[in-house]
């Protein structure tokens, strides 16, 4: 079994710095905790958008826990890719 995945929504995207923030939708587990993703390369679409539903893996990095291995699940995935 691989790493534990979480479900969240992209709440902000910065196209210039190529990073953004994900908010988990599972309120019981991660209420009020946001996860930053540092590189668009971690996402399976070229241009992630705010509001998109994603699955991700939490990884401990030098900058703290970040979202990695992000897969966009919402229908707008096709439009974005």
């Amino acid at each position: 079994m691989g790493e534990k995945v979480s479900i969240g929504k992209i709440v902000s995207v910065n196209a210039d710095t190529k990073d953004g923030v994900i908010m988990p939708v599972d309120e019981t587990d991660d209420k009020g905790v946001y996860y930053q993703f540092a590189e668009f390369a971690d996402i399976d679409v070229a241009y992630p958008k705010e509001g998109q539903l994603v699955q991700f893996v939490k990884e401990d990095t030098n900058a703290g826990i970040q979202a990695k291995q992000i897969t966009v699940l919402s229908p707008s995935k096709k439009m974005a890719s």
Partner: protein, 396 residues
């Protein structure tokens, strides 16, 4: 040195001073108009009457603005709503008093009346004798500039309006002492709360399913990547077997990805349903709280005079019907408006009759059909009857 308190006191006193100045100004204006009527005949009688109505309306607007900070403030009642009863009282008061003043003021000025001729005196004395009132005809038939007679029908119409106003206040007073049964509203809040809980539960189930399928897809993706690696590293003779394994891994991942997408869509629908239920619950709860705050017994009240609307004249008064049109009010409004307008036209006709206005003994205001009063009475009766019935569930 002026203290803060005295400054505040001066500020509070200022509006009253302005009101006094306004009143003084308009008193002087009225005096000027009255003198002009007689000395220079500037205005026609009807124009003078309209001018008088305008002055009274202006005075009311001033008082309303002073008390309730609105020009229509005189029509606002204790529940911060525009009142139909007040409107009627004011309509009749303005109509009759302005007509009275328009007629009586010129009569009190020198040469305001025609000479008392023997024919007029004889007619008057005959009438007094025939009336059987026992009055002395000689004393009753002298020059009388202030003798303006109000016909019984007019007094009755005004009485009906006044009685309706008083009756309305009594009914309202009784309803203020009752309490609203908020069970129905609370039940509505409970239903919305339950609906929110149901959708929340459904959302949580969909999320758990999505989590499970996402985890499965992630695991299968790892397997797929491993199969791909094995295929890439496999020797030539092992390639077909590795290809079969890779194809199988790809098929499992594709199926898992499809199931995950479906679960993601279903979760989104559940999330939307929850958001809608949550908003509905918040709205119903806020409405219930608002109704609690705006309740004055069974009656609905506005938070401030700024919330008073002209539509209040036609709306129900209780928590249970204040958002609906009260047809008895609409009917009474039209009856009153039509009768007041018709009577106004009759007064205007009288004001064009110089002979009648300068009659040395008496001027009689126009009378109207008593059946009209019956209709007015029925309208007010219906209004009060509807008002008496509770339109809201009581807690008593």
């Amino acid at each position: 040195m002026e203290t803060g308190a005295s400054v505040e006191a001066t500020d509070k006193a200022r509006p009253s001073g302005q009101l006094f100045l306004f009143l003084l100004f308009f008193s002087l204006l009225v005096g000027w108009v009255v003198v002009s009527w007689r000395e220079h005949q500037i205005f026609l009688a009807v124009a003078r009457w309209l001018c008088m109505i305008g002055l009274m309306l202006f005075f009311l607007a001033l008082v309303g603005r002073e008390v309730n900070h609105r020009v229509d403030g005189a029509l606002i009642d204790a529940r911060n709503k525009l009142s139909l009863s007040r409107l009627q009282i004011l309509l009749w008061t303005i109509l009759t008093l302005s007509a009275y003043l328009t007629i009586v003021l010129p009569r009190t000025l020198p040469n305001g009346l025609d000479a008392v001729t023997s024919a007029i005196v004889n007619e008057c004395q005959t009438n007094v004798k025939n009336s059987g009132s026992g009055a002395n005809p000689d004393e009753a038939c002298i020059r009388e500039p202030l003798n303006i007679s109000f016909p019984p029908e007019l007094i009755l119409a005004m009485g009906i309006s006044a009685a309706s106003f008083a009756g309305s206040s009594l009914v309202q007073s009784s309803k203020k002492s009752k309490t609203v049964n908020i069970e129905a509203r609370d039940a509505k809040v409970d239903a919305a709360r339950r609906q929110r809980a149901i959708t929340d539960e459904a959302r949580a189930q969909k999320l758990a399913e999505l989590n499970r399928l996402a985890q499965s897809a992630a695991d299968l993706k790892t397997e797929l990547e491993a199969a791909q690696k094995q295929f890439n590293e496999a020797a030539v003779d092992a390639k077909p077997d590795a290809q079969i394994k890779l194809n199988a891994a790809q098929a499992r991942y594709d199926a898992a990805d499809k199931a995950r997408q479906k679960a993601a869509n279903e979760w989104q629908l559940a999330e939307d349903a929850f958001t809608k239920a949550d908003q509905e619950f918040a709205k119903i709860e806020a409405d219930t709280e608002k109704a609690r705050v705006e309740s004055d017994g069974l009656l609905h009240k506005n938070a401030s005079t700024a919330d008073a609307r002209w539509a209040d004249l036609f709306r129900g008064e209780e928590i249970g019907d204040y958002q609906l049109i009260d047809m008895s009010k609409v009917q009474m409004f039209f009856f009153t408006l039509v009768i007041v307008f018709a009577y106004g036209v009759a007064v205007a006709s009288l004001l064009q009759d110089t002979t009648a206005l300068r009659h040395p003994l008496i001027v009689t205001l126009p009378s109207f059909s008593s059946s009209l009063n019956t209709l007015l009475g029925i309208s007010h009766g219906a209004y009060l009857s509807v008002k008496t019935v509770d339109h809201t569930k009581t807690g008593n």
